[in-house]
């Protein structure tokens, strides 16, 4: 195997990894603030992919311009879900929370199956067949676009948490919910906004992933697990960690796919997850609890 081929696979994995990272960012935000483990994350991702698919096939809107629409739609969905359902389950034990999100996931996946059927769908843009070449390096155009957009959305999110009043208030809730309530913050509403933001991240990631991959309803649990692997690698609750984790998983998938066997690639991800859970449970960039 020559170096150029290797370089191309690596860079492809890296770019895809950024999109994975954006998806995991949503999971990380939701867990970091509410301590809720979103087992419906992959399902929300697949919803977003189908939304982008419909917008393209029915209205001719390409996934990147469709991104604000889909992300906005998922924000509303996430906001309402947290506001009217999950907020009632915040104090209860984790297995009940887990089942609640699982039942949501079940409803979403089977709803999608009913509407779209089990077949894989994809879209083809003009850009799908173009590529950039820099010296020996050949990069798919859509992959570059997806990765840059993912990075941009992540940067926006970072700025939101850093510089806006709402973002600061959400961070306050994450650090100390009781204290946040004492100083007069509407914690329930901020939680709803947070879940909305987490959902919007998945929405954006779903649009971008549709540029790179097929979509079918049964992908959802794979994406949920993938999201967990990524955030735990990077550190639950850490924004930079989620992106780093995404890139690592993207790289390991791409490399194990060509070096060993494509069907073994998930074993590497799970092996990595076991190692990180045991040796560094707070993740690579996460803070020690």
């Amino acid at each position: 195997m020559d170096a150029t081929f290797f370089l191309n696979v690596t860079s492809g994995g890296l770019l895809t990894g950024l999109v994975y990272g954006l998806m995991a960012l949503g999971l990380s935000v939701i867990f970091g603030v509410m301590r809720v483990v979103n087992f419906a994350h992959g399902d929300m991702m697949v919803v977003a992919m189908y939304a982008a698919f419909l917008l393209f096939t029915k209205l001719g809107i390409e996934p990147v311009p469709a991104l604000p629409l889909v992300a906005g739609g998922l924000f509303v969905f996430g906001y309402l879900l947290q506001r009217f359902l999950i907020n009632r389950f915040l104090g209860v034990t984790e297995h009940i929370q887990f089942l609640l999100l699982l039942s949501i996931a079940m409803i979403i996946t089977n709803g999608l199956l009913m509407v779209f059927g089990p077949d894989a769908r994809n879209i083809q843009l003009d850009a799908s067949f173009e590529s950039y070449s820099i010296g020996p390096l050949v990069l798919d155009k859509v992959r570059v676009i997806a990765a840059i957009t993912a990075g941009g959305v992540a940067a926006l999110l970072w700025a939101f948490f850093r510089y806006t009043t709402t973002g600061t208030a959400i961070r306050a809730c994450a650090d100390n919910p009781v204290g946040a309530r004492v100083v007069g913050l509407d914690v329930e509403k901020l939680y709803a906004v947070t879940f909305g933001i987490g959902a919007a991240c998945v929405g954006a990631a779903g649009c971008l992933l549709l540029l790179l991959m097929d979509v079918h309803p049964h992908l959802s649990s794979d994406y949920t697990l993938l999201g967990f692997i990524i955030v735990i690698l990077g550190g639950l609750g850490s924004l930079g960690g989620a992106l780093l984790g995404g890139i690592l998983v993207g790289l390991s998938e791409a490399l194990s796919g060509v070096l060993i066997a494509p069907s073994l690639k998930s074993m590497f991800s799970f092996g990595l997850l076991i190692l990180v859970l045991l040796l560094r449970p707070h993740g690579i960039l996460g803070k020690k609890p």
């Binding site: 297995h95 409803i107 089977n110 697990l225």
Partner: protein
Amino acid sequence: MSALLSDRRAVLLLGLLAVLVVAPLGAGDYLLSILITILLQAYLGMAWNVMMGFAGQFSLGHALYVGLGAYAGGALFVHFGTPPLIGAMAGMLVSAVAGTIIGALGFRFKVMGVYFALLTIAFAEFVRVLFDHWGWVGASSGLFLPVSNRATDDIWMLRGSATMFYYVILGMAALGFAFSRSLLRRRIGYYWQAIREDQEAADALGIDVFRLKMIAVVISASMTSLGGLFIAFYNNNLYPESIFSMHRSIELMLGTIIGGIGTLFGPILGAVVLTALGEILTIAGNAIGIDGIKQIAYGVCLMAILILKPGGLWPWLRQRFGLEGGAR
């Protein structure tokens, strides 16, 4: 005897057992297959309950032990004609070893709660991919047990009619119930509950928390592997994709959580409710003519139970009908 029968729960239990023992006489093939599904689900729920309900350790990867039990019994039978009873011992041993590894790593490295649950999923998925590539057990194309003449029942080789399988799983469920009950009433059961409620306090009282949690994992894993063996011989086919899947882990714990976690009747009640719900929704779905509606309605019902009775149905029923008394 009178002390036993004065307990209304004992009457309920003996009545239930009597009905189940004579059930195959009146039940057709369809009803029998549903009863087998219920008993299998109840048995697996009891096994999971030992680890989560009694000792408070959240496992989301119990499909691992189902799969190991199924493959140990199935592969030995296919390759060497080993009787299932020997295969069961092999499966229990392998599952106990797997449980020991996961438990020892998880508990020693202080992986707790959600993180522990994810660790169990990771191991189950890891092993699933491994079996997908292991040629000796058929890899991803599956392992098939030879289907022999079903006119005669051979209990030693577990080859025979649905009625035979029904009595086998009924026996397993009854033994599982009796075993769970005796565990809960022994010193170890009280230790487990102390750990479940407050691990640090239990530790401070001098309970060997690590050892007791390990025992819970090993017992739960071995019990679960027997359920796997039953699945292998009842279905006659095994695919890593389905036997080790996360869906199986979820299905396995669903009944117990719905029925009432940590209780003895919870897994049974949960299995009955969920299986009945599934069947009713299938029939209703067919009547309406929309396939996917079943799973959606299932999700909605699940959500409704969680919102209305988050502690499970059995604790609520028990209170309603005055079945309280003693230890659960």
